[in-house]
Assembly symmetry: none
Homo-oligomer: 87 residues x 2
Amino acid sequence: MSVVGNAANVINPYSHVPVYRQLADILRQQIQSGEFGHLDVLPSEKALVQTYGVGRDTVRSAIALLRDEGLVFTVPHRGTYIGPRPE
Amino acid sequence: MSVVGNAANVINPYSHVPVYRQLADILRQQIQSGEFGHLDVLPSEKALVQTYGVGRDTVRSAIALLRDEGLVFTVPHRGTYIGPRPE
DNA sequence: CTGTATTTGTTCGTATGTATT
DNA sequence: AAATACATACGAACAAATACA
């Protein structure tokens, strides 16, 4: 398959699906496909802003969604990690 | 004219011009007027925060602007120097 | 060699303002 | 009115490199 035109990893600002949900979908897919290892760090907010060309609010909304789903947990000033929050 | 009340060196938080751009304007003016010598060190981020009463983000954004303009270059853990980046 | 201080780098937390849908 | 989105702004915490006494 061609790499170009693969919409799976690309934000579509014209979609009816909010950008933050599209971003959450992309990250969720990457996490579940094992693209990141368990306890690996998710790219930082800044990195995601740059990679996907969206605002910080949007990145934070997407991460909050994944956090609510139990897919990641965030440690203040450290980063967001893959996996359920340890007890 | 009096030095006091010269708005050229003062941040106006109520301006439509973002604070980081105002700060960049002030520093750019000082650099171009020869207030600092070539290869002198710009005041540290901490010093600029204190001098102008702004946040560190703002200082870093202003410096990044000057860096993009080629007016200064930053050496990690050393400081930001006046002049184009040496090769 | 060993601390201590300084400085930039990086990260998330929070808030406000504005614009668009 | 409410949700979404982006830019700006300040804060806090810690890391890492450097310099120096």
